[in-house]
């Protein structure tokens, strides 16, 4: 009997084009769109050399140290920081006015910066000048106390930065702010398993469809029917998740870290939560299937938006302002699960997420059970 029901339910689920679209094609299309959109964002975030001017004056020409520093950061190569135009003050003022440069430097003999607005590029120029002043001051102080010190070595030592700490990621993954969007999208795909759950309940609950009323007349226990049908729905949904994960990883090059077993465990529990959520919606709401689908889509979308699918920072805002919402939102839990696997060096938070998801699945299943166990209906 298990095989008979299981195989037929798989056929029904796979041949339901609307279901396959929402649970498989839609996430793939959306992921592709995300990838295109985020590629443009990344391109816009690539550092561009900053245009500056330096006023050519006798102080500038005499300050060998500063000239050397400017030459160092305007040399062609991957570390080039500035495009430097050495010009007179009037011309520098004109360039700044016409936004051809971000700022200009003049020496009197102190080093001064002139900008016309605040921004990232202006901050970079200022930071460079502050660093220079600090290093120049340190070298000056050392030379004053020890005139025999070798100038070249001093400059090298003062301008070289050394890291005394090392960052190690357990997943060896590079930080990427766009990954959270994809993790939220996987959460949405898991929760779209609710469509299968919804369909399964509609097909076994006698007051929801005529087919179900006919099935209720067969000599098969309703709970068996429920469990066998859910197994079929789960198998389909889990495979769809694997396809989506595969597409994200191999086609779109989204990194999930290297903890495959945990990724599969999270997907597994996520699918269970999604399907059981759909069964509960279907059993609870005695209205048309269209309305149920609408409720399922809207709750899932709200959940995934709050987990950062449209704006990554919303996840942190929710965690900060309404933490309880982050704990009962399955989409947030799944998203956070992927996030912790990628960034964290222990699994404590991951297992908290898994435990809450499991608990939610149990609550959804029990609610469904208490509704559908009523074997006679008030009306059909």
């Amino acid at each position: 009997m298990f095989n008979h029901i299981f195989i037929t339910r798989i056929k029904c689920l796979l041949r339901d084009k609307q279901l396959v679209f929402w649970s498989l094609m839609f996430p793939i299309v959306l992921a592709t769109l995300f990838k295109v959109a985020f590629s443009n964002i990344s391109a816009s975030e690539v550092f561009k050399t900053i245009d500056i001017a330096v006023v050519n004056s006798k102080y500038y020409q005499e300050n060998v140290g500063f000239k050397g520093a400017i030459d160092g950061v305007s040399k062609e190569g991957k570390d080039k920081l500035f495009n430097v135009t050495v010009t007179n003050e009037k011309n520098a003022e004109e360039l700044l006015k016409n936004s051809k440069i971000e700022g200009y430097i003049y020496l009197n003999p102190e080093v001064n910066l002139v900008v016309k607005s605040e921004g990232l590029n202006q901050t970079v120029i200022k930071t460079f000048l502050d660093d220079y002043k600090e290093s120049a001051s340190a070298i000056g102080t050392i030379l004053a106390s020890n005139p025999k010190a070798e100038h070249a070595n001093l400059v090298k030592a003062a301008t070289t930065f050394k890291e005394y700490t090392k960052e190690i990621s357990p997943s060896k993954g590079k930080p990427n702010t766009t990954f959270n969007y994809f993790y939220a999208l996987i959460a949405m795909t898991c929760l779209y398993g609710g469509f299968s759950g919804l369909k399964e309940i509609t097909d076994i609950q006698g007051d929801l469809s005529k087919r179900a009323a006919r099935i209720n007349m067969a000599p098969v226990h309703k709970m068996k029917m429920f469990i066998y049908s859910l197994c079929a729905a789960f198998l389909i949904q889990f495979n769809e998740i694997l396809i989506v994960l595969g597409y994200l990883h191999f086609a779109l090059k989204i990194d999930f870290g290297n903890q495959l077993a945990y990724i599969l465990l999270l997907s597994f529990v996520g699918c269970a939560t999604g399907i059981s959520f759909g069964t509960m919606i279907s059993a609870l709401i005695k209205k048309s299937e269209g309305l149920k689908v609408g409720i399922l889509i809207s709750t899932t979308m709200i959940g995934t938006v709050l987990s950062g699918m449209m704006y990554a920072n919303i996840k942190y805002l929710v965690e900060k302002s309404i933490p309880i919402l982050a704990y009962i939102n399955p989409a947030a839990l799944i998203t956070d699960g992927f996030y912790t696997l990628y960034y964290y060096n222990n699994h404590q938070r991951f297992f908290i997420n898994i435990s809450i998801l499991t608990l939610l699945s149990v609550v959804f299943c029990l609610t469904t059970y208490f509704i559908i166990r009523r074997q006679k209906y008030a009306s059909l």
């Binding site: 029901i5 041949r15 067969a218 209906y377 059909l380």
Partner: protein, 310 residues
């Protein structure tokens, strides 16, 4: 008794859908449940099948109390619902196979039964068709095949011919007869009295959730006072002549509308002869004249004062 319903009461809030309904269905018969829409036929069937909760009463099938967990009873029941209840995602064959498989676990036996069911409803050419590709009549046949494939001892059909073309209807009705001849007890609900006349051995007429009449067709017709219905085509009938016709001793009721005189005669012989004699004696010209025996509609009309299809 195959089915015994005792004092069944079902309410939908304020509406009394079944009012102390009593029914008994004997083995091997085709039992008709006849009544207008809303009379409680489908409610009665759904209660009998333990799909619906009811407020009061007892239901026994195969001499055992019927309940949702009565799987030993359910395995011998076939149901054909009023609405087509099949899976859009499965082909004709797969649909029948699925429903049959819920009763029959042996694969080989099931295959045989599914083929037989397809043959029975003449859907051989449509085995691989999906339901949305089938016409209304073919869908109804598929609906029936899904209900009968496992060879039930008791088959319950709830208005299986609604919105069906005449050819499919005849096909369905002859199939039901055939099943009955093979020993299947059938409960057939409809609001088409012609179908009941054609099919059923015994009939219960339902109105407002009550059995208003129960018996064989002949017994029911014998219950009423009218004999035959005589219809005469007359192009010009004065009101005085109509009054005289009404006064005839054999006439129970007479109405003249749109050049047609309809007379409901009292029980007795030669009623049509008396009418012809009267028309000739009064020089009333008439065209076609024919007589019909009382129908179940007449029975319903006399008992409830309304037509079956009101």
């Amino acid at each position: 008794m195959i089915v015994k319903v005792n004092n069944l009461v079902k309410r939908y809030k304020e509406l009394l859908a079944l009012d102390h309904l009593n029914l008994e269905v004997k083995e091997g018969e085709i039992f008709g449940l006849l009544g207008p829409n809303g009379s409680g036929k489908s409610t009665a069937i759904n209660c009998i099948l333990s799909l619906l909760k009811y407020d009061k009463g007892e239901i026994n099938i195969f001499d055992k109390p019927m309940g949702p967990d009565a799987y030993d009873i359910k395995k011998d029941i076939g149901v054909v619902m009023q609405d087509v209840a099949v899976f859009e995602e499965l082909t004709v064959y797969e649909n029948i196979d699925y429903f049959c498989g819920l009763y029959i676990t042996d694969k080989l036996k099931r295959k045989e039964l599914v083929e037989e069911a397809i043959e029975f409803v003449a859907l051989n050419d449509y085995k691989k068709f999906y339901p949305k590709k089938l016409s209304g009549g073919l869908l109804r046949r598929l609906n029936i095949a899904c209900g009968v494939a496992h060879k039930p001892k008791l088959l319950i059909l709830d208005e299986p011919t609604v919105a069906v073309d005449p050819q499919s209807r005849n096909n369905i009705l002859s199939g039901i007869k055939k099943l009955n001849q093979e020993g299947v007890t059938i409960i057939y609900t409809t609001h088409y009295m012609e179908e009941v006349e054609q099919l059923c051995d015994r009939v219960a007429i339902l109105d407002k959730g009550k059995t208003v009449a129960l018996g064989t067709k002949e017994e029911l017709k014998a219950m009423i006072k009218i004999g035959e219905k005589i219809t005469v085509e007359i192009f010009n009938l004065s009101s005085s002549s109509l009054e005289k016709i009404r006064e005839l001793s054999t006439v129970d009721k007479a109405e003249y509308r749109e050049n047609t005189l309809v007379i409901r005669s009292k029980k007795g012989k030669n009623n049509i002869v008396r009418i012809i004699e009267f028309l000739n004696d009064h020089n009333i010209e008439f065209g076609k004249i024919y007589s019909e025996l009382p129908t179940l509609n007449d029975v319903f009309l006399e008992i409830t004062g309304k037509e079956l299809r009101d």
